[in-house]
Structures are given as structure tokens and as C-alpha cells.
């Protein structure tokens, strides 16, 4: 596969304030790439740099081999874009907005447009200011998808969508991927990214902290094994075992929660020395990984802990 997005040491500052610092990653053609981070981490700044709405202070970004700043017009022929905050003329109807952007893109397939409207259950006859936030988002999504772009750049696309429409959106993304087109989406909803994306990047305080396959990212995080014994067992029996990072006794006195990094063979063998009532192992979610990257940062942990 070839890279459709290449970001190399991209840096953007807002005066003395941080934007993003030395961000580098690649997105392969045909994949669904998730861009994760809490509010203010630099997701939108990165996206607006890719869209040539901001100019980088340093570094380069290329889309389909073209420089995002120098050849932005050519690039935008390939892109469908949904901004994080949608601001459109409140006096135009949804239909008028879609027609206007259709013209600016040189014309679109009306049949496909009507299919999208039907799929997202959107009423294009109402004025934009009369829409709820979810319906505004639908108009934004339709205008991003309607010209069948080679690359979709979506900034927090499901904000405000109800679960049914989120599912429909997931299906639309999968169809795009199946057609060999690319999706780059930002989110702070980790389960959404886990479900939709093939690869993921995590950004924190303007710097990229991890890029990898969703499965690969899962592997680096710690397992959690919870064992309930028939009688109380000393924690020391497990603390020094291979693969055990932490042992915690729960309030009932008979249950131990073990945080694992590595294989569980030694733990299983040690547990077998005692009468075991139950043993459960938790598959890590991206929420866990996300929280791990913010360990020791009180504010960030607090933000991340609100993530659904």
C-alpha cells in the first residue's frame, strides 16, 4: 500500500501557545485511521494544517504526494472534509447548502446524494438554523461524503449523532474502506475508534505518543486478572512472579486483582496452589491504553476518565 497522508515533523504554534510539536505519521491508502486525544491535544490543529486552513511553522505534510500548502487546491479535489465545529449560513436550507457545495466541487451525483440523505434520515427542506446539532452534523457528513472523495478527513464526526445514525455512519465508513478509499477521523471516543479504525495515533499535549494498529496498541497495555480464592491468600505470593506489575487486594479480602504485563503462566501456576473460586481476565480496551498514556497527569486522567 502507498501512503496517502505523509506528515513529517509538523509543528504549529499560536504565538507563545502550543499547537502541535514535531508530529510525524503516515496514513496508508485504503485504511481507516483514527486520531485520538483529549480536548486541546492538537487533533483539530493537525487536521486544519492538512486542510491548508493553517500554515505550518515547520515540517511538511503531503496528501497523495502533493504538498498540502502549495498544492492545496489540487488536494481538495480529492478530499471530503467535516470540521469539528460546523458553521454555515443559517438562512440557507440543508438542500441549498448541499447544492452550493456540490457546485463548488464541480457537480455531484444527485442519486448518490439522495441516498445519503435517506440513509441519515435528514430533512433538507429546513433552514440550517432550525436544525438540531445532530441534524447539522448530518448535513456536514453528507457534504463530506457526497462527491465520493478519495480521502475523507473527519473531525469528531459522530458528535451529536444518535446511536442509530452512528451505526449508519459506521456502515458508511466501512463501505468507503471496502471501495479502497481512505478515512482519517479524529475522536476522543475510544470505543468508536476501536470499532471503526484499522490503525490509530494518540496525541497528547501536541505531541504524538503512539502510532500503530489497533490490535498492536492493545498488546502493549497491561492485562488485568481478577482471582477470587476460597480463603485469603497473601499478596506476596504473586508480587514477585514473572509478568506481574501490581497486586491489589479487594475489600472482600479473598479477591486479588493483578495487573499483568506479559504472560500469565506463572500466575496461573501459583494460583493453582490455592482453592480458586473464580478467575477472570479482562481484555484491554483503548480506554485503558488511553488512560495509561496519561498516568501521572492528574488533569489529563480526569479528562480521559470522562470518555465513554
Amino acid at each position: 500500500m502507498t501512503a496517502i497522508i505523509e506528515v513529517d515533523s509538523l509543528t504549529k504554534r499560536y504565538g507563545s501557545k502550543r499547537g502541535i510539536i514535531d508530529v510525524s505519521f503516515q496514513v496508508e491508502e485504503g485504511e481507516v485511521f483514527g486520531f485520538l486525544g483529549p480536548n486541546g491535544a492538537g487533533k483539530t490543529t493537525t487536521i486544519r494544517l492538512l486542510m491548508a486552513l493553517l500554515r505550518a511553522d515547520a515540517g511538511k505534510a503531503r496528501i497523495a504526494g502533493l504538498d498540502v500548502w502549495q498544492q492545496s487546491v489540487e488536494i481538495k479535489r480529492l478530499i471530503g472534509y467535516l470540521p469539528g465545529e460546523l458553521s454555515l449560513d443559517p438562512n440557507l436550507t440543508g438542500g441549498q447548502i448541499l447544492e452550493y457545495f456540490g457546485h463548488l466541487r464541480g457537480g455531484i451525483d444527485q442519486v448518490y446524494l439522495k441516498q445519503l440523505i435517506a440513509r441519515l434520515d435528514c430533512d433538507p427542506s429546513r433552514k440550517f438554523r432550525q436544525y438540531s446539532s445532530g441534524n447539522k452534523r448530518k448535513i456536514g457528513l453528507i457534504q463530506a461524503f457526497m462527491h465520493r472523495p478519495r480521502l475523507l478527513i473527519l473531525d469528531e464526526p459522530t458528535n451529536g449523532l444518535d446511536p442509530l445514525n452512528q451505526q449508519e455512519f459506521d456502515r458508511m465508513v466501512k463501505e468507503v474502506r471496502d471501495e479502497g478509499r481512505t478515512v482519517f477521523l479524529s475522536s476522543h471516543i475510544l470505543s468508536e475508534v476501536e470499532q471503526t479504525c484499522t490503525r490509530v495515533a494518540i496525541i497528547r499535549e501536541g505531541q504524538l505518543v503512539r502510532v500503530g494498529d489497533v490490535a498492536e496498541v492493545k498488546d502493549i497495555k497491561r492485562h488485568e486478572i481478577t482471582i477470587t480464592f476460597a480463603n485469603a491468600v497473601p499478596t506476596e505470593a504473586f508480587k514477585t512472579l514473572d509478568g506481574v506489575a501490581q497486586v491489589e487486594r479487594l475489600s472482600d479480602g479473598q479477591t486479588l486483582r493483578l495487573t499483568m504485563q506479559g504472560g500469565a503462566d506463572a500466575v496461573i501456576k501459583a494460583a493453582a496452589q490455592h482453592a480458586v473460586v473464580s478467575l477472570t481476565s479482562h481484555e484491554p480496551s483503548l480506554e485503558d491504553i488511553f488512560l495509561r498514556y496519561y498516568e501521572g497527569d492528574g488533569l489529563a486522567v480526569k479528562e480521559a476518565s470522562h470518555v465513554v
Binding site: G95, L113, D123
Partner: protein
């Protein structure tokens, strides 16, 4: 301190407006008051001025024109109503603007009743108006002192209070109307229209005898009842006729309380984000479009950035054309009536003669001279229109409305030039329709005007409008919308002072050249000032080019 209450926070938002409008209008009063003694140096000049006042009585009742207080009340009493633009915009924005932005939801989530929120905001508007009135009063008093006028500080304060009260009425009206409109712009527009209607209604009784009952329907009538800068005792007239009219002040106060009270009452009872339901017969017919038929729209205005920009500017262009072409046509109609009085005044007031000579063009023997003097207001109006449109461009970027347009394969330069081209089209339309209106008025009244010069006078306002727009676009490359619009408005005021007050103060030609109005010249008398206009166009093109360079390279920001 400023964030302790809704009242203080709102007042803080108005601090620049208080200084700008209060000091601006106050300075106007000051400068005019200082200049009055030199206008009426002889008894003959005073008599001629009184005669002229009689002819222009449709503007304002001419009382004691030979005195500084009388002259300034007659000449600028109406002009001062320009300040009512601020409260009508501020009050349209007060609740409806916050609803549009969605910020009112957060404010109403506080443990405060809706009525209290509205009243705190309204109190801030009233405080701002009273402070503006105070600034105007103090500067008018200072001007009066310099001119040895016979009104005192208390009279000046009453003058300021009268201004604050009439502004309060239009602010309250805007607040009430905004309860019925989805957008603040609609409420502002409607109130602005009513302001013009009320000004005209007030004029009716001064033009047509026995029609005072019609004028009583206008709040402006009650504003004009009070003439605090014309103290009653000085002129041997019945004391109830002049000076401050407490009844007039009370009517204005009562109107404000009534309109504001109704607005707050309705606000406390309607849906936030919704409007007060009108009776069925007052509602506009709704065009019900079935969702499946909503596309394709096939509207001409949606085909490109240029046509969309034209569609956006169409309604304001219509109203501004009505004002500018209407003003020009009306001036042609009335100018013939005042020729004799003006000739007499020229003969007896050397300073006024000099002023008219400088601004109007110097050929005192023709109607065109007076018309030329009055036509200087045409570029001012068109430039004000350009300010509003430059503001809209800047606001669209600030509000993020350009973001999706710029995500399409449209070069930034095309987006900017498309918008500017639409504005250019609108200014050309206004210019051409102004020419048509004046030509028709000229033919209808039999006023002899040179066709070529008339075309020059009406069409050469276009480059001046474009100049202001280009400067506005240029400034928006760096400045926030409020600052951009404020600076542009300030520039207009400065130019106005230089061109209209400068001759009174005998400023040098080099200083007068700093004003864009200078380059408009006197086309009605002397034809198109081709070099001047080319110069203005060249500066406009340079400003637009710089604006384009900046826009193409800048971060598109919120």
C-alpha cells in the same frame, strides 16, 4: 470586578461603544458650537441664517438660530439621532444575539430568573446610554463655554438626557421586535426602518399645516419638543415653548419602560431560541417543501462563490439603494426651493459662503452649487454601506463560515475576489440607480442640471465605496471583526470631520487631502475629477491586492 454580575459583564462589553459614540458625538457638538460665532458675525448674516432655517424647517424647528445653542440644536439635533443606531443594534443583540450564538442557554442555567437576566442586561444598556449622554453633555457644555453660549451645565446635561432617552426608546423597540424575529439582524433592520419612518413622521407637521397629530405618533416628535440648549428666558418667548419640555422627556421615558417591559415580559414566557407566536393573519406564508422535493434547488445564487455572495448582499443592497438614491432624488426636488435664501445667505455670511465654496464648488449662481454641497453626503452613505459589507466578510471568517468553502477546490484568492466582485456589483448598481433617481427627479422638477456632471456626481461615489471596502478587507487580514469595523467607522468619522468641519476651522489643503471625500470633489459643477478617481481606484486596487496576499497566506481562524 467586571465579571461579578451579568450587569457588569454587559457594561464591560459596551466600554468602547460608550467612549466611541459618546466622545464622537460630543466632539461633533463641541466643534460646531465653537465655530458658530464666526458664522454669524453680522446682523445680516444672522438674518440670512434665520431665513435659511425657515426654508429647512422640515429638518428641525429653527429656534434662535443666531445663537450657538439654537444653531446646533437645529442643525445637529437630527444628525445626533445617528447615535440611536448603537442602542438598536445593541438591544437586538442583547437577547436574540445570545440566542443565535447559543450562549443564552448557559446563562439561563444559572440560578437566576429570566426576567432578572434580561433586566440586568437592559440596565447595562441604560447605563451605557446615560454615560454617552453625559459625555455629549460635557463636551457640548465645553463647546458652549468657548462660544460664550447662554446655556449652562444643567441645560447641557438635560440635552444629554434627552439624547439618552430617545436612544432608549429605539433600543427598547429593537428589544421588543427581537422577541418576534429569529435573527437579530431582522430586528435591527426593522427598528432602523422604523427610525427612518418616525423621523419622516416628525417632519410632516413642519411641512404640512394642521398635521401635528400625525407627528405625535413619532417618538422623535417628543425628542424635538425639548431644546435644552435654547434656554427659554433668553429670547423673550413663552417659557413653555423652549428649553426642556418635561412632558416630552416623560413620554420618552414612559415609552421606553413600556416597550422594554413588554419585551422582558414576552422573553420570560417564550421558548429560548423560538419567537413569540404572531396571530395567524400577521404570519408570513410558509413555503412548505416536501423533503423529497427539496433537491435539486436549481437556484442561480448557488452556482459559485460570486453568485452566492450576490445572493447574500441582495437584500442590504436593496435597502441601501432606497436610502442613497432616495436621498439624492429628494435633494434634487428640494434644492430649487432654497436657491433664493441661499444666495442671500452667501451675501451676508462670508464664512458660510467660504464653506459652501470649498465643499460645494464655488459657483454660487446655480442650483447645482447647493446640490453639489448636499451631494457630498452620497459617498458618505455608500462608504457606510461598504463598512457593513466589509464587516460581514470579516465576521464570516471569524465565525468559521469560510472553513467549508475553503475545503472545496476553490482557491482562496477566488473566494476573496468573488466576494469583493459581488460587493463591487452592488456598489455599481447603487451608483447607477442613484443616477437614474436624480435624473428622473431633475426631469420631474425642471431643475436644469448638466447630464454629464450628474452622471459624474452619482457614479464617482463608486470608487470611494470600493476604497472603504478594500481597506476593510485589508484590515480583516489581521484584526478581529469588532476592531476592524470600529477602525473603519472611525476612519469614516475622521474623514467626515476633516472634510465637513475642516473648512470651518481653516485647515490647510494638505490636511483636507487626508480625507477621501476630498477626492470626490465637486463633480456636479466641474465634471468627473478623473485623476482623483483614478488615484482612489489605484489605492483601492493596492489595498485589495495586499488584502489578497494576506488572505492567501494567513491562518483561517475562529
Amino acid at each position: 470586578m467586571w465579571f461579578k454580575s451579568i450587569y457588569l459583564k454587559t457594561l464591560r462589553d459596551y466600554r468602547i461603544a460608550i467612549l466611541g459614540w459618546g466622545a464622537g458625538m460630543g466632539l461633533l457638538m463641541y466643534v460646531v458650537l465653537v465655530a458658530v460665532p464666526s458664522l454669524v458675525t453680522t446682523a445680516a448674516a444672522r438674518a440670512a441664517l434665520v431665513s435659511l432655517g425657515g426654508t429647512f424647517s422640515w429638518i428641525a424647528e429653527p429656534i434662535a438660530l443666531g445663537t450657538p445653542g439654537g444653531y446646533v440644536t437645529w442643525k445637529y439635533g437630527l444628525t445626533l439621532l445617528v447615535i440611536a443606531i448603537w442602542p438598536l443594534m445593541a438591544c437586538s443583540r442583547l437577547l436574540r444575539g445570545e440566542e443565535e450564538r447559543g450562549s443564552l442557554d448557559a446563562l439561563l442555567s444559572l440560578p437566576r430568573g429570566r426576567g432578572r437576566v434580561a433586566l440586568e442586561k437592559l440596565a447595562a444598556v441604560w447605563t451605557a446610554l446615560l454615560l454617552m449622554g453625559l459625555l455629549i453633555a460635557l463636551l457640548a457644555f465645553a463647546g458652549g463655554k468657548s462660544a460664550s453660549a447662554d446655556f449652562g451645565l444643567f441645560d447641557a446635561l438635560l440635552f444629554g438626557l434627552n439624547v439618552a432617552l430617545i436612544c432608549g426608546v429605539f433600543g427598547s423597540l429593537a428589544l421588543l421586535l427581537s422577541q418576534f424575529t429569529q435573527e437579530r439582524g431582522t430586528a435591527s433592520g426593522l427598528t432602523g426602518g422604523l427610525l427612518l419612518v418616525f423621523i419622516v413622521l416628525d417632519m410632516v407637521h413642519r411641512v404640512i399645516p394642521n398635521t401635528e397629530w400625525i407627528s405625535r405618533l413619532s417618538p422623535v416628535y417628543y425628542y424635538n419638543l425639548s431644546k435644552p440648549l435654547v434656554p427659554a428666558s433668553s429670547y423673550g418667548v413663552p417659557s413653555s415653548s423652549y428649553g426642556t419640555n418635561p412632558g416630552g422627556l416623560l413620554v420618552l421615558l414612559a415609552l421606553s419602560v413600556l416597550l422594554s417591559g413588554a419585551a422582558v415580559w414576552l422573553f420570560a414566557r417564550r421558548d429560548v431560541g423560538g419567537t413569540v407566536a404572531l396571530p395567524r393573519w400577521l404570519r408570513l406564508p410558509e413555503r412548505a417543501v416536501r423533503p423529497e422535493r427539496a433537491l435539486p434547488v436549481n437556484a442561480w445564487s448557488l452556482r459559485s462563490v460570486y453568485t452566492r455572495s450576490l445572493g447574500m448582499i441582495a437584500v442590504p443592497t436593496f435597502w441601501w439603494t432606497l436610502v442613497i438614491a432616495g436621498f439624492a432624488g429628494w435633494m434634487v426636488v428640494v434644492v430649487k426651493q432654497i436657491e433664493a435664501q441661499m444666495t442671500s445667505l452667501y451675501a451676508s455670511s462670508p464664512l458660510l459662503k467660504e464653506e459652501i465654496t470649498k465643499v460645494g464648488g464655488g459657483d454660487l449662481a446655480t442650483n447645482a452649487t447647493i446640490l453639489s454641497f448636499l451631494f457630498v453626503f452620497l459617498p458618505l452613505l455608500l462608504m457606510a454601506f461598504a463598512v457593513t459589507q466589509a464587516n460581514r466578510w470579516s465576521a464570516d471568517e471569524e465565525d468559521g463560515r469560510l472553513e467549508l468553502v475553503l475545503s472545496t477546490p476553490q482557491p482562496r484568492l477566488r473566494v476573496l475576489l468573488g466576494r469583493f466582485a459581488a460587493l463591487t456589483t452592488a456598489t455599481v448598481i447603487i451608483g447607477v440607480l442613484t443616477l437614474a433617481a436624480t435624473a428622473l427627479a431633475s426631469a420631474a422638477t425642471g431643475l436644469q442640471l448638466d447630464g454629464g456632471n450628474l452622471a459624474a456626481a452619482t457614479l464617482s461615489i463608486i470608487p470611494l465605496g470600493l476604497l472603504v471596502a478594500a481597506i476593510g478587507y485589508l484590515l480583516s487580514g489581521w484584526l478581529r471583526t469588532a476592531v476592524d469595523t470600529g477602525l473603519l467607522s472611525f476612519l469614516l468619522v475622521i474623514w467626515f470631520f476633516i472634510s465637513f468641519i475642516g473648512p470651518d476651522l481653516n485647515w490647510s489643503d494638505a490636511t483636507l487631502r487626508l480625507s477621501a471625500f476630498y477626492y470626490y470633489g465637486t463633480p456636479l459643477l466641474h465634471g468627473l475629477p478623473l485623476l482623483n478617481m483614478l488615484g482612489v481606484l489605484a489605492v483601492s486596487i493596492v489595498a485589495l491586492a495586499l488584502a489578497s496576499v494576506r488572505f492567501v497566506r494567513k491562518d483561517i481562524g475562529r
